[in-house]
Symmetry: D3
Subunit: 133 residues, 6 copies
Amino acid sequence: MKSAINDNQSRFERGLANLKKIDGEAGEKVIEGLKQIAPDLARYTIEYPFGDIYNRPGLDLRSREISTIAALTAMGNAEPQLKVHIQAGLNVGLTKEEIVEIIIQMSVYAGFPAALNGIKAAKEVFEKKQCEK
Amino acid sequence: MKSAINDNQSRFERGLANLKKIDGEAGEKVIEGLKQIAPDLARYTIEYPFGDIYNRPGLDLRSREISTIAALTAMGNAEPQLKVHIQAGLNVGLTKEEIVEIIIQMSVYAGFPAALNGIKAAKEVFEKKQCEK
Amino acid sequence: MKSAINDNQSRFERGLANLKKIDGEAGEKVIEGLKQIAPDLARYTIEYPFGDIYNRPGLDLRSREISTIAALTAMGNAEPQLKVHIQAGLNVGLTKEEIVEIIIQMSVYAGFPAALNGIKAAKEVFEKKQCEK
Amino acid sequence: MKSAINDNQSRFERGLANLKKIDGEAGEKVIEGLKQIAPDLARYTIEYPFGDIYNRPGLDLRSREISTIAALTAMGNAEPQLKVHIQAGLNVGLTKEEIVEIIIQMSVYAGFPAALNGIKAAKEVFEKKQCEK
Amino acid sequence: MKSAINDNQSRFERGLANLKKIDGEAGEKVIEGLKQIAPDLARYTIEYPFGDIYNRPGLDLRSREISTIAALTAMGNAEPQLKVHIQAGLNVGLTKEEIVEIIIQMSVYAGFPAALNGIKAAKEVFEKKQCEK
Amino acid sequence: MKSAINDNQSRFERGLANLKKIDGEAGEKVIEGLKQIAPDLARYTIEYPFGDIYNRPGLDLRSREISTIAALTAMGNAEPQLKVHIQAGLNVGLTKEEIVEIIIQMSVYAGFPAALNGIKAAKEVFEKKQCEK
């Protein structure tokens, strides 16, 4: 039950690389925003989710982002993070249509308001992307 | 915005076929349990989630079950349905290892208790499956 | 903004009478169960919900129980209280059919698992009632 | 368990008529906003909640809106939909005082923050209505 | 199980004094905002949370605010109230560092999004305080 | 933002020591239960919550357990973990009376059902402790 080889230094570096690859600019902004008030939470966010979890071989990144978009849509109380992961979903190869499908499906498990608010978040991410082109 | 061809009869029949294919015996038990007290909720459960949503071409069944397992683990208040969909995940081709990965990842988005309780549900489904062999 | 006439004594007595009328035996059991470990929470439960809120003239008891059954079904994490209030709904004149309708409607706002678990709770309350006859 | 007579065409038409009657302009805006990004979710929102559920005879519209306002206040994560249904409550005959009562009662079941945020939503809907006169 | 001595008048007065001491200006604004639309919810908010609960001798105010900040961060759907209680935490002697620690710890129990959104709320409260100096 | 000195080996060992000290036997059982199905979640549970977070100097263990008991009571969907932490609260020096106070206070923020279910959990932990003497 021990991870012998990797020390925390490499968890952090590995996590930062994964964060940049998956979340892109939006993820880096989150980390930046934490630096003054809670730098250790920034470090943990890099180390545990991105250094440990997203680095695991048992599930591909595409499936990991499907999981995250579904969960955050269903929970309905984490809009900023949902937007970051809708963008992350696009970054790892999900199409807009697939993301919309995941969110529509949440109407079944978390109700229509959760799905409607998820679609609104997706719309804002997709339109922002459009503008930047 | 209209679905011209399929009438409700076919939504129901299509949904029942999907329910049997995806959820298997566990899904049929849910429907059976509703028959006396709320037969219309049984019908809606067949028609909307399984006749409409799981029938949509935009996302494969594997990705749909990833979404559902993630969402129900994160919500943490629907253990019977989570178990049905852990079984459904196995039915549509997810491995036990992949299901465990999805649940572990929820520790990031919904906290460790949600992940621990999700793993407990998975353990019970996996062990039941083992016994039946 | 002050309630001048009623002192706490009457809030408690009024609340206890309302609790007995609305929740019946199930409500009294809740209060009894709190006596040893948290008697003050028993007192508050009588005073605030039943002495203050359910005593207000602006909404009839029937509508109050509709509200409570809907909310507890949607929240999905308070099964014992949902059962008490399904019974309370029957006590204040809701029919079984109306209670089932309220719960089915929650599939729209909180998802199908919340509705399915709500129906299961209703089934257990209705069957218990049947047995006691 | 089958709905033989009504085909989807009529579910949609019936749902659209109910949506206009119950939610009014606010509901139509929701549908309009979905058209470009997720037209099928717009269709489902019309067909299932409004074509199927709000069309059921077992519970009057007034009681249905009580249920929805209570649930959305208690869930506390769907402010836009809560506002639409506070307006819908007024449309089907609930008074402002009754809506305020439903929300105050949620302090018992979901806590004071849920009730306070619900009242804030009601205030904004009531004031908007006032301005339009 | 009865509170014989204190009548409601004193619950209200005691609650108002506690509200001013603990929540300060932010709490008074909440009460002010309720006056026109739901004056009774203002009264209940003063009487029950502040007249009854925060007045109890069994737990010091510092521990009570730790509880509240933790709970509201974890629930993730009551940002205005979380901000009021981050300020209240400072008012009763918690340091900014301790408040940040409580919020970081919520990453374990409610997930990283809840902690990240809690830190954002804290940042806004701390910066506002800074500006007022 | 990097933790240079401690490698993962020491995070794990430090976490295991903290887990034993804080959660006691109940915590070890959780880890044991994960070993076959999700050993890595066992490791993460030791490393992140107990090796990283509970090890931080900025907040004493007593305040950390107050936070956790409050949050889990308010969330209302993690009864096994709430029980572990009610026991942990006793282990780090909270009295039964203080734990009951924290839970009663949650009636304000998460509603009476959350508080009632929290008290039920506390009762079961306290009575088990009594029996073991």
